[in-house]
């Protein structure tokens, strides 16, 4: 289980980093989205992967991390997803503004003279 998740995180992060370094703004934003998926899965996996142990207490018992999944990383992931969504929307607007003002979708605002 951990191996699958780790490989998934690695593939997403690697693809995201490669796309982040590309010269077109659309590639950059897709790269940022892939990195956000990888990072969110990473935060979630810090709570240790476990099946069949939802973080819901039975009445009258105190929580014990050996019996239940850790709810804190799940809350962290939700926060990170929301923040990532907002910043992606903001970056999309700036991407469109840059395309309009500089007439090109190159990240530097002008094509490389080569």
């Amino acid at each position: 289980m951990e191996l699958v998740v780790a490989i998934a995180i690695g593939v997403l992060a690697g693809s995201g980093v490669w796309l982040l370094l590309r010269p077109r703004t659309f590639q950059v934003i897709i790269g940022l989205s892939l990195i956000s998926y990888a990072v969110n899965m990473f935060i979630f996996s810090m709570g240790r992967l476990r099946t069949g142990a939802p973080p819901i207490l039975e009445a009258g018992s105190t929580g014990d991390l050996t019996q239940y999944a850790d709810p804190l990383p799940q809350a962290l992931v939700l926060t990170a997803i929301v923040i990532g969504f907002a910043t992606t929307a903001l970056f999309l607007v700036v991407l469109l503004a840059a395309r309009g003002l500089t007439r090109t979708d190159h990240v530097d605002g002008q094509e490389r003279e080569s």
């Binding site: 923040i83 503004a97 003002l101």
Partner: protein, 542 residues
């Protein structure tokens, strides 16, 4: 302190409420928004100064505010100690001066200047007050999101180009922040800074590598914000392209990274951290030295006067990082004084450069060397004019004096506070305890001394050259039209540095007691973990 303890929440809640209120007046009522912004910022200055006096006079080294009345390791805490109070005061003063400057005309350049400004202040104040790592991330994102909007304020090709890079780099940095925080949580099981300080010493040897990796990744996120050398190429471009009042507020944003590095490094990796004590100390020192060198070269080589201020930010960040890496109490006290002095200076410089550059044509700042290289002859013929005592317009005189003051402050020459700051740092190297004690000075210390003095020299050269080209040489230039509301903030900031010089005694005592408290984190940790939840609230834990 029980009734007053809620005052600690005001620097976060007031900008939030004020900013949200402004969003209700969409479009119409720009002056209403400006008035709300000004009122809220003035209240923030008053509150910050009150909190500073509370922190200075309190018996405990830190005051703690439990959010939601949850006791410390479970709930999020706000901590007010002398360092956070100092940063709150600095932020609010810079915000007030930048805001007043913008009311002349810059706030009209875009639609959402005032709400974004308040949300930026909310993020800054929250980042300085919080005692929880993930809450720090949230406040960082609030301040970054507001700064994206403010960096683009006024639009135009240059700003949007710089803003695009700024946003991408900071988004990638936020991901690094998240990875570091989650690694630290995965190893230690807590996000509360004080609780973390205790648990780091107890981490087993197998997990220690993961913990240090997480801390290093987290550190990179802050160092990008602070502007350490290989991570700082975005900074001069973005700060130059931003509109001047925004750049003046951004001067304190780079200090957020420095503040967090100082706070977390001394708290988590101080002498009580077991195997991980002083983790990354050399990286901070060498990174700081490289940043100083890079900033120095940038300051000397820039052909655009506005970029000079951007590179000065790098020089000041590098000095602070290297001073933190040298890891001595006296040095940290001097570094805190330097932080206040240089941030006030750079903020004034951003505003002043805009005033000075008004009405000059593009390319007027080109160095004479560049002009010759491109084949244009130097067209300033030195005529032997018999001009004795020609009248200087008052505007030019004021601008000239302010520019001179900024040059003196950046270079660290007497009589202004830049000199006292550098002197404090140098004297802590050469004479830490007493005049008679023999003392070995390490190579790192010598490198820091050399770069500190050389960076002052390079700032002096660059600033005088810029001043001669812009203000003091008798070339034909039209006198810029400047309103009092634009000159007043610059004058206030420079007068504050003069006040810092006159009151250097009390100021240095404050910095020294702050540094002492930072190097003895037991007070902070005890304060946070031992604060009981308030009784007398329905449903409160007994």
């Amino acid at each position: 302190m029980s009734g007053w303890s809620h005052l600690m929440l005001l620097p976060i809640v007031l900008p939030l409420v004020a900013g949200s209120l402004m969003l209700l007046f969409d479009g119409v009522g720009r002056w209403l928004k400006a008035f709300l912004n000004l009122a809220a910022t003035i209240v923030l200055v008053v509150v910050a100064i009150t909190l500073l006096r509370v922190a200075r006079d309190s018996d405990h080294s830190s005051s703690v505010y439990l959010l939601g009345n949850w006791p410390a390791p479970f709930g999020i805490v706000l901590v007010l100690d002398q360092l956070s109070a100092l940063m709150l005061v600095l932020t609010s003063i810079l915000a007030l001066t930048s805001l007043v400057f913008s009311l002349a005309r810059w706030h009209r350049a875009g639609v959402h200047f005032h709400p974004l400004f308040q949300f930026l202040l909310m993020g800054l104040n929250g980042a300085f007050l919080t005692g929880d790592l993930f809450n720090l991330f949230v406040f960082f994102e609030v301040l970054l999101a507001a700064s994206y909007g403010l960096a683009l304020h006024g639009s135009g090709v240059a700003r949007v180009k710089a803003g695009l890079h700024y946003i991408v780099i900071n988004l990638a940095t936020s991901f690094l922040f998240l990875i570091g925080v989650s690694l630290i949580y995965g190893v230690t099981g807590t996000l509360n800074m004080a609780d973390l300080a205790i648990r780091i010493a107890q981490v087993s040897a197998d997990d220690r590598m993961l913990l240090e990796a997480g801390a290093a990744i987290l550190g990179i996120a802050f160092l990008v914000k602070a502007g350490m050398w290989p991570l700082s190429f975005w900074l001069p471009t973005t700060y130059t392209a931003a509109s001047p009042p925004v750049a003046a507020v951004f001067a304190v944003m780079s200090k957020v990274g420095i503040y967090i590095v100082l706070r977390l490094w001394l708290l988590l990796f101080g002498s009580g951290a077991g195997e991980s004590a002083q983790f990354g100390e050399n990286w901070l020192l060498y990174g700081g030295l490289m940043t100083m060198a890079f900033g120095m070269m940038g300051v000397l080589s820039t052909q655009n006067t506005a970029r000079l201020a951007g590179f000065s930010v790098l020089v000041s960040s590098g000095t602070l990082l290297a001073a933190i890496g040298l890891n001595q109490v006296g040095m940290t006290a001097g570094a805190l004084f330097y932080l206040v002095s240089s941030t006030l200076t750079i903020s004034a410089l951003f505003l002043l450069i805009e005033l000075v550059e008004r009405g000059r044509e593009m390319g007027a700042d080109m160095l004479a060397v560049t002009r010759e290289a491109y084949g244009e002859p130097d067209d300033e013929t030195l005529e032997d004019e018999e001009e004795v005592g020609f009248a200087i317009p008052a505007t030019m005189a004021l601008l000239g004096i302010s520019f001179l003051a900024c040059a003196v402050l950046l270079a660290g020459l007497p009589p202004l506070s830049g000199f006292i700051a550098k002197f404090a740092m140098l004297s802590s190297i050469f004479r830490p305890t007493g005049l008679e004690e023999p003392h070995v000075i390490s190579a790192g210390n010598w490198a820091f001394v050399t770069l500190l003095i050389l960076s002052g020299l390079s700032s002096l050269i660059a600033m005088t050259r810029a001043g001669i080209r812009s203000l003091w040489a008798p070339e034909d230039r039209e006198v810029p039209r400047i309103r009092v509301i634009e000159m007043a903030p610059v004058a206030v900031l420079l007068l504050l540095t003069a006040t810092l010089t006159l009151q250097a005694g009390p100021a240095m005592r404050y910095m020294e007691s702050t540094a002492q408290a930072l190097y003895d984190p037991a007070g902070y940790i005890q304060g946070v973990l031992a604060t009981p939840p308030s009784q007398g609230i329905p449903g409160a834990a007994r």
